[in-house]
Structures are given as C-alpha cells and as structure tokens.
C-alpha cells in the first residue's frame, strides 16, 4: 500500500491509498479523480495520465523506459524533467507518501 497525494493544477489535493502493484493511474481513475484520464488503460499509448512528480521523490523511481520517454513527448501540457506517465508508476512501500501534480489538461 502506498499513500499517494495528487495535487491538481488549481491546488486541490487528494490523498488516496493505492494498493501495492496498482499503478498511480488506476488508483486515481478508480476514485474518479479529476486530472487523470488514462484513456488507453495503461499501455503507454495516450499520455493522458501525465503527472509531474514532486522532485524530492524522483530518486525513488526507476527511470522511464524508452516507450514511456517517447510518449512523454506527446503530453498536452509541457513536458518537464519530473514528468512521468502515472500508469508506469506502480505503488509499493517504496512510493509511500509520494506527491504528484496533475497538469492543467491531459488533452
């Protein structure tokens, strides 16, 4: 289980418990969290689950794969060094407490 805080572009925060092995995208979508879409269901084809990871947590994450890297070039809002696809961030004890910011738009 990881406690994940999602912060919207307008500042609204929501903290969810995401079960181990579940992606931060699925965690958000299953709670109808505004700010993450996940149209393709997590196969890195739509880039509508883009998040900005709060930089202090980046060290806990494996680097993006080549496929994720390619898709991060297609996000609706500007890619930043802390941009990730939340479908590729899988909850575990290591991510407990992580904070991610959702962009203004996913499309």
């Amino acid at each position: 289980m990881a406690e994940v805080t999602y912060i919207r572009a307008d500042g609204e925060r929501r903290t969810l418990d995401v079960p181990d092995g579940t992606s931060l995208m699925i965690g958000a979508v299953s709670h109808q969290l505004d700010g993450i879409v996940g149209e393709c269901g997590g196969q890195m084809m739509c880039a509508t689950c883009h998040v900005y990871v709060e930089p202090r947590f980046l060290g806990r994450l494996a680097a993006p794969s080549d496929d994720e890297d390619a898709m991060l070039d297609t996000t609706a809002c500007q890619r930043q060094p802390n941009s990730r696809l939340s479908c590729q961030l899988i909850a575990s004890g290591a991510l407990d407490g992580i904070v991610v910011h959702t962009p203004e738009a996913q499309l």
Partner: protein, 407 residues
Amino acid sequence: MSTVTDQDLLSPELTEDPFAYFARLRAEDHVHWAEANKAWLLTRYDDVVAAYADPRLSSDRVRPLLGVLPPERRAEYGPMLETIGHWMVVTDPPAHTRLRKLANHAFRQQRVNAMGAWIGELVDDLLDDFTASGSDDFLNRIAYPLPAAVIARMMGAPLQDRDKFQHWSDELALVAFSAGGEDRASRYTRALAGVRELQEYLAQLIDRRRREPGEDMISLLLAGADESGDHLDDAELMALCSLILFAGHETTTNLLCNALVALDRHPAELARLRDDPSLVNRAVEEVLRYEGPIKIIIRWVVEDHDRDGRTVKAGDRVFLVQQSANRDAGTFGDPDRFDIGRPTQPLHVGFGRGIHACLGAQLARIEARVALPKILGRLGGVRVLGDVTWRPNIASRAVTGLRVGHG
C-alpha cells in the same frame, strides 16, 4: 418489462437521429434488449466504461460467428470472417496482449507528434487543389485523401497508391461496420474481394520492406521489436497491416466530416473556433463526444450474468453504445449542447477505453487538430450545401456525402 418500444437501429429514423431514443433508453431501460438488432444495448456512460474492462464481455466475436454459420452461408461469409477474425480488435488476452504490444511499439516509433508540420502541408495542398478545382466535394477531395495519405506514409507505401487504399477500405467497411440498406446483401462478397486485393498489395509491400527496411510501421513490425524478441508471423503481419490501413482511414474521414457538420449546424461555435484556433484541441474532443465516428462497439457475452435485473446470457451480443454514453446527462452537463469550450474531463468514450482503446487515437487527434483550423481559415464562409444524410451502419456515424461551399 421495458416501457420503451423497441426500434431498429438501422431504421431511417434512428440512422438520422438516434439521440432522443437513446435518452429515453438511458432514463427508462438503460440495459435494453434490442429485438430488432438482436443485442443488448448498454446506454449509460458508467456502464459503457465498465463494460470495456469486463472479462465477461469478449471481443472475440468473429470466431464464434464462424462456428454457428449455417453451412449454406459458409462459402459466402467464411473466407471474409476468417480474415478479419485475425484482427486484434476481435481478440481477447492473452492473444490480444501480444499483438497489441507489438503494434503499440511500432506505432509509438512513428512519433506522430512530429508529423504535424507535414500533415499541415498535406492539408494545404489538398485545400489548394480544392479551391482551384471549384469542387464542392469535401468528402472525396479532403476528408478521404488526408487520412489515406497519412496512413500510406506510415505504412511506407507510395503516396499515389492512396486511391487504392480508399477503395479497399470502403469495401471492408461494409462488413466491419455492419452496413445496412442496399449494401447489406452483397457486403461479404464485396468485402472479401477488397481484402484479397489488399492482401496481394500488402504482400508486395512487405516483401519490399524486407529487402529495403525503412522507418515505416511495416519495417518496424518486420524487425520484431519487443524486448522479448517476439515477432509477428506473416499471416499476423498481414492481418495487422490490413487492420491499421482500414482503421486509420475510414474513421478519420468520418471525424473530419462530422466536425464540419457539427460546426455548420452551430454557427456560433464555428465562428468561435475560427476566431480562436487555440480552442481546437477542445473542439476536436467535443466533436468526438457529440458526433464521434464510432457509434457502437460490439461485445460477445461469454458468461451468464445479471445487469441491473436483466439476465444476460452467454452467446448474447452486447452493444456498447458510445453514441449514447457520450450524451449521458449523468456525466456531461447539458449533453445535447455542442460546446467547443467544454472541459475534456470527464472524457468522452469516442476512442473507447482500456486495452482495446483506439491505437491511432493520437494520430486522429493530430490530423483533426491540424486540419480544422486550416479548413476554417482558408475556406472563408465555409458552409455545408444541401441536406446531410447518414449511412445506415450499426457501428459508424458516417455521412453519405458532404458538399461544402465557401467564399
């Protein structure tokens, strides 16, 4: 017992305007047995979204059909169904997972985002020809050739072959989108002839790419790119290429036409987009919601279950009515209003959701985002001429033709 009188989805009335009927179903019989079409209709947004991920609803809907085909029809329908039965849109995991992963990889490498400038030039060329010709045939001179040229390039096919793609794609659409009307009787034989010609063409293309690999999808699929070393065999490659060619073509044509129709019927929204092209991303999503190219996605029930008191049985067909879900007032405020500034969340289900979500969604979006502002900008006073009529298809929302005037 349903209080709503069942209507045939292929009737002229519902082909023209199904929205009031779907609104009644959502309110009074949201899981509706459509006797006329022999299928359950799921009409609410939440139900449709959940259905995409429901393992009791299978996408493997062609092979079961082969099994129950009466012997006298096997000769006519069999070969066509065998062919499209290999398409990944009609497979379930794990077969689907493998095909989709390989397709995703090759598609991603096309870097569709970088294609925007080239697509823009293509649109400009088509608009140059259109205005110079004095033609009013928007469908055949702009909406058809644009996606055909884009898909030809992605497949590494010569641009001049796009007219052939168009013909095969039209023939395939008769079966893939369940055509009604006068095309219904001959649709299998016509589609099969189209598929055979397409396969011969693809075989040559694949052979050429084997000898001279490029950056196109066929070359990447031949290289067998995934990390496990998995790759497609020849039959799978052929099936995937024919699917991509078909799927990337017809639907985008309809998206462009439907966009123009919706804008024409809402002049204030048209003016708004022309004045502020930065609204185009939202406008494209609104067209996908309001008048998306795919009306219905079909699933096949593989396990008896209950849906809000209705017993759905294995072997039944279920229609995920995207056209209805996208007008659900429980999800979208004022759903019958066409508003190009509407927020994109909650997102429409125009491209489906989950493992079968449209492979080319990003590409279709880019084509429409590039094309629409140019069309409105260059065709001053653009307007639809004459009445718009829709094709009697179960699956696709497609105009029969689209003539436009300008100036």
